[in-house]
């Protein structure tokens, strides 16, 4: 079966972002960009399913600026077979992303669609679920285990309180949680090979989707600073502070 994996180019997880002085957003100039960690887990899972003989072809798609092809190449170096870049520099909301992905799914007809559970920049946690609704397909969100069996997929999900397992008919959407797998590192020969793998470039208009969103970001601010704390020297001092100064115990 064919698997489609969506990946997003985001600021690297280890970067501490700074809000721009004019409060229009965060400053991304000269900041290291990477593939979103949850998306990397989605790619890894697709590659593992291919290694098990469940998946025969992995198509990786990214929606974003021209530079997002770097993230598609990274996914190819991990084992994806070909890529689609839907190029746009416009602001684009989760609903519009889901609509573009729906267009791609209708053309490619994958049986498994893998996404990360959330992007670490906007922290929305929406696209997979929205795509599920648009396609009328089942969704296995926050997956920590995926088992494909015949025409069905069993997904173990991380929920508040523990784990839940659901069975979905194919095609199905799976969004990955951190514990699903540990992504491999791309070996140099695979990075070289990835350069030769096919990468198509499209636009949102090719899928009949207008960019933008009805969710306008009015302002972006730095969170309130916590006032500086103090180092205590002993357990007695700590208990004294908690009882008499902070009054929390």
């Amino acid at each position: 079966m064919k698997a489609l994996v969506a990946v997003k180019r985001v600021v690297d997880a280890n970067v501490k972002v700074r809000v721009k002085a004019d409060n229009t957003g965060v400053d991304l100039t000269n900041v290291k960009m990477s593939i979103n960690p949850f998306c990397e887990i989605a790619v890894e899972e697709a590659v593992r399913l291919k290694e098990k003989g469940v998946v025969s072809e992995i198509v990786v798609v990214s929606i974003g600026p021209k530079e997002a092809q770097e993230q598609i190449r990274s996914a190819m170096a991990l084992g994806a077979d070909r890529g689609i870049l839907v190029e746009t520099t416009d602001e684009i909301g989760a609903l519009e992303v889901a609509k573009i992905l729906k267009g791609i799914v209708e053309q490619e007809k994958p049986e498994l669609i893998l996404l990360g559970k959330q992007a670490i920049d906007d922290d929305s946690n929406q696209v997979g679920q929205m795509l599920g609704a648009l396609l009328g397909a089942g969704q296995g969100t926050f997956a920590s285990e995926v088992k494909v069996d015949g025409g069905k997929v069993q997904v173990t999900r991380e929920i508040d309180g523990g784990l839940q397992t659901v069975e979905l008919s194919l095609p199905a959407i799976i969004t990955t949680d951190l514990r699903l797998n540990e992504p491999r590192y791309a070996a140099l020969p695979n990075i070289m090979k990835a350069r030769k793998k096919p990468l198509e470039t499209k636009t949102p208009a090719d899928y009949g989707v207008a960019t933008g969103t009805k969710l306008k970001t009015v302002k972006v601010e730095a969170p309130a600073e916590r006032k500086a704390g103090v180092q205590v020297k002993s357990v007695d001092e700590l208990i004294d502070k908690l009882k008499n100064e902070a009054k929390v115990i």
């Binding site: 679920q129 929205m130 609704a133 969704q139 969103t213 306008k216 357990v235």
Partner: protein, 311 residues
């Protein structure tokens, strides 16, 4: 303006998170309806009817809704919302996050995740970049859909209301998903997201055995819930639902005690709105100290037992 709140429950008890969502709904202002979708959930509807500020409870009781499968519940919520609601809100729990974006897409509208403040009827604040920036967003959608970060709103009273209960007979069964099983971790301690005190352990505690040996007595003494960093969860010290952070639970207790936690951005996103933060770590340079009100540098294996004995 009418607001539909999706109740969080396990068919027996209304989850406290719903009370925080009702509080957020009151900030928006309008008539508040709570939808209880479940199986044999009449008792939950009765609890919801007593919640302060709720004027109506809708009960959709059917096997299709027993386990809150998004494919079934989202269809129901979207249909009810079309009947004249201006807002649909749910808690930013795994259930709310699973269902609500699906509702939004069915209604062809955008969704706002993790609302932490209501500015006005269509403008809200939410954290982005693991809480390192706060975005103010304005929704121009006909129906505003949002999940509410429960720790950002004080719960309304669970008693005192007298809402009417109406039964919804409509059944939405998409037939594309089936519940197989659930493994719920049994806890004797308070629930992590709602606890007044949280004691968390990180990689520094060394092992699962040591986590319990060192932290259980402290949590017992303080009547605290227990949490963990991702490192401690990944290392298998404790189950995943202990995880506090951007990708785990968001907590904001009165007191958060971080033991053996270095304080990665990801972890800080889940606890830095706590009222008082205490860090116990052997590393003087640990990033956790930058958000801690009090930090103690020392070996947690001696410091924590000493703390327990002196409390």
């Amino acid at each position: 303006m009418s607001i539909l709140v999706l109740a969080e429950h396990d068919n027996k008890t209304l989850n406290g998170a719903t009370l925080n969502v009702v509080a957020a709904a009151q900030k928006i202002g309008g008539d508040i309806t709570v939808l209880v979708a479940g199986e044999a959930a009449q008792v939950v509807a009765e609890q919801a009817a007593k919640v302060a500020g709720v004027s109506k409870v809708l009960l959709a009781d059917n096997a299709a809704y027993a386990h809150q499968l998004a494919e079934n519940v989202a269809g129901l919520v979207a249909d009810i919302a079309k009947g004249g609601y201006k807002y649909v809100l749910a808690a930013s729990t795994t259930t709310g996050k699973n269902i609500l974006p699906r509702v939004a897409a069915l209604l062809d509208v955008s969704q706002i995740t993790d609302i932490i403040a209501v500015e006005n009827a269509n403008t809200f604040k939410r954290p982005i970049y693991a809480g390192n920036a706060i975005a103010t967003v304005q929704s121009d959608e006909a129906i505003i859909i949002g999940t509410v970060r429960t720790t950002a709103f004080d719960a309304v009273a669970a008693e005192g209301g007298s809402a009417t209960i109406e039964t919804v007979s409509e059944v939405k069964d998409a037939g594309i998903s089936t519940f197989i099983n659930e493994e719920i971790v049994k806890l004797d301690r308070p629930e992590l997201a709602a606890a007044r005190i949280v004691v968390s352990g990180g990689r520094g505690v060394g092992s699962g055995e040591n986590y319990h040996k060192v932290l259980d007595p402290l949590a017992d003494k303080l009547g605290a819930a227990q949490g963990a960093s991702r490192a401690a969860v990944d290392a298998g010290f404790v189950p995943n639902d202990f995880q506090v952070g951007q990708t785990g639970k968001i907590v904001a207790p009165d007191l958060y005690v971080a033991v053996g936690i270095s304080g990665a951005i990801q972890h800080l996103a889940g606890m830095k709105d706590s009222k008082v933060i205490v860090a116990i770590n052997k590393d003087e340079e640990a990033p956790i100290n930058s958000v801690a009100d009090y930090w103690l540098v020392g070996d947690l294996n001696t410091v924590v037992p000493e703390l327990v004995s002196k409390l």
